[in-house]
Amino acid sequence: MGRWWAVALSEAVHGDKALAVTCEGEQLAVFRDGKGAVFALEDRCPHRRVPLSPGPVKPGGLQCPYHGWTFDGATGLCNDIPNLRRDERVPARYAARAFPAAEANGFIHVWRGAGTPAAVLPGAWYRAAGREQTGSAVANIAFDQYLDVMLDGPECLLSFPGVHITDFFLGDPRRDGEHLVLDRGAVWKGKGNGPAFVRDHSLWVRTRVPVRGGDIRVELLSAEEDPLVTIFIAASENRRGTTSLVWRGFLHAMAAPLPWRWRTARAIGRAPFAIFPHIDGAAVAALEVAPSRDRRLAKTDTRMPAERVVPVQERCAV
């Protein structure tokens, strides 16, 4: 069964140029037509295999920069081969591979795999309710490892300036549908004697990592579990053991009493979070495999998602 992947920021795809992206290791060309509708084709011309993405967007679709063949975005069918005689027709079987594409909440999604595209997009939940920060990168870490590290040590992959993310996570990941949710303690930098001396953490970092797929949600929460910062990171396998990332995040209205330094930095426009494109291999290698074990197990588990309510008798395991 296929799935939707968020592959690009909406604003990154515009005008008469296509955007080259990589999803599940496959190169795609994403573009819009004159009406703004989004399309995705395999970034490979079926004629002589050159990338389509450098070509211009024409009224009939995306034109190959090599010989000018043009492909319809929705069907992938080739609808124009320059210099054909008037009595010649493009054979019906001439087509680039096309993928269903859809847009929601600032993300362009591509459906990959079998089956009818699902109605709900990974980015459907995301609603920016504050000043936004966006970006994209290719991270120097393999996709599956990226998801695992997001559970085992998210501080290797991102930061919240002024916040120390601890490695003390609460319990085990909680299964929520197709995601694993895990909270870990965090503290304000420069307040108190450091995380080791904290009786109760003043902040939480909640990571919501997919068992399958690439939609990650990270939230910085107050001690009362009210959101301060929300980030949606869309990850996908890129080539040569790297990971494609696109993200949007925003700062919530600051109702909770927060350190003045943090408030001031936000007030003058300093970003409330950073996603690392360059990942410290030594830091990742030093992480013990811990909550991510549950993700690996869940990937092989074909049963229905775990229920929140578990009978006591079933909770006693050896």
Binding site: L170, G171, E225, A290, V309, P311, C316, A317, V318
Partner: protein, 347 residues
């Protein structure tokens, strides 16, 4: 000296009776009280604690203590999702004693206050326990592995020598006693080097001292009650409840009851956990990860691992009993019985 590590009887039995390897990370024993927080830490603002990956929110309202599965502001909305641990009510049974809030983990129908462990050196009503005696630390391992680390004596000579001494002594004898619910380790050491911390700030000027250290471990809830008594010197009674946060982490709200020790030792000694804990975590963290690996290579043991092996064996027995559906306490178990004599307390 033999090159082959010698295994004690408990170790041999543990190996013989268990078809599986020791898997401390999956032990989830129930029908027990966990000291989830210091009483003094809980006010009107809800505090979140975790027991076996399960949320426990604690707060007070109108002077009354609440322990619930959900935050107070979400309780009504989420009550339908309450678990059998609260009989669907959303509220855990909770009691305050010895300066802690104890929450019941298990079937609420089986709750009895008499199952709270006796801690003879702490006032039952918690009154007068100074805050300097209370220090919360976190361990990067499942609770049983952390407890095993505490039971294990020989690691201290290597990992903690700079803080608690080099382990040199004239004589060092260890006894182990157990019931179906507890393990008691008694260590008698004569003419040991005085611990640096006790020499520097504890007023003990002698070069050597004797030590009688009793550690009493409650298996279900990992409550470790310790009474080390130094001569010359004084006892440093302490409680270390290893609350299982999950398969990878545990939390310990320690009470180092140093009120009878001289100043400034009494104030500073409880803080030694901030030195000890990172040292322990440096080994516990990779150790815990390795207990997830399925392996045919069983742990090896020496005779020094007797108490730890006894602990493993009893934990496995208890877990297997619970797996069969037997959650009761045996005739030899009485957590609330006075253990003053067991600890060898003076007076």
């Amino acid at each position: 000296m033999s090159e082959v590590p010698m295994m004690d009887a408990a170790g041999r039995e543990a190996e013989a009776t268990s078809k599986r390897d020791w898997v401390p990370v999956n032990l989830d024993l129930r029908d027990t009280w966990f000291p989830v927080a210091y009483s003094a830490d809980i006010g009107e603002r809800a505090v979140r604690r975790i027991v076996h990956a399960q949320d426990v929110y604690l707060w007070r309202d109108g002077g009354r203590l609440y322990a619930a599965e959900f935050r107070p502001d979400r309780l009504e909305a989420m009550r339908a999702g309450a678990s059998a641990f609260t009989n669907g009510s959303g509220f855990y049974p909770a009691v305050e004693r010895y300066g802690y809030i104890w929450a019941w983990y298990g079937n609420p129908d089986n709750v009895h206050e008499e199952l709270i462990p006796n801690i003879p050196f702490l006032p039952p009503d918690g009154q007068g326990i100074p805050r300097y005696t209370q220090r919360a630390v976190r361990f990067d391992a499942a609770s049983p592995l952390s407890v095993e680390n505490l039971i294990d004596l020989t690691h201290a000579d290597f990992l903690h020598a700079n803080a608690i001494g080099d382990g040199q002594s004239e004589n060092d004898v260890v006894e182990v006693h157990s019931t179906s619910e507890t393990v008691t380790r008694i260590r008698n050491v004569t003419r040991k080097s005085v611990a640096p911390v006790m020499r520097w700030i504890g007023g003990v000027r002698a070069q050597y001292q004797d030590l009688r250290a009793v550690l009493h471990v409650h298996l279900r809830n990992n409550v470790c009650i310790s009474y080390p008594n130094f001569t010359p010197g004084y006892p440093i009674p302490n409680v270390q409840p290893f609350v299982p946060v999950g398969k990878h982490r545990s939390r310990v709200d320690q009470t180092n009851y140093t009120v009878h020790a001289p100043a400034p030792f009494r104030w500073l000694m409880p803080r030694i956990s901030y030195v000890i804990q990172p040292q322990d975590n440096s080994v516990l963290r990779p150790q815990n990860a390795r207990y997830f690996e399925s392996t045919e290579r069983r742990d090896l043991s020496s005779r020094f691992d007797g108490p730890g092996n006894r602990y493993r064996l009893l934990m496995m027995r208890l877990a297997e009993r619970q797996q069969r559906g037997d959650f009761g306490y045996g005739a030899d178990a009485d957590p609330s019985a006075d253990i003053s004599a067991v600890l060898g307390m003076r007076g």
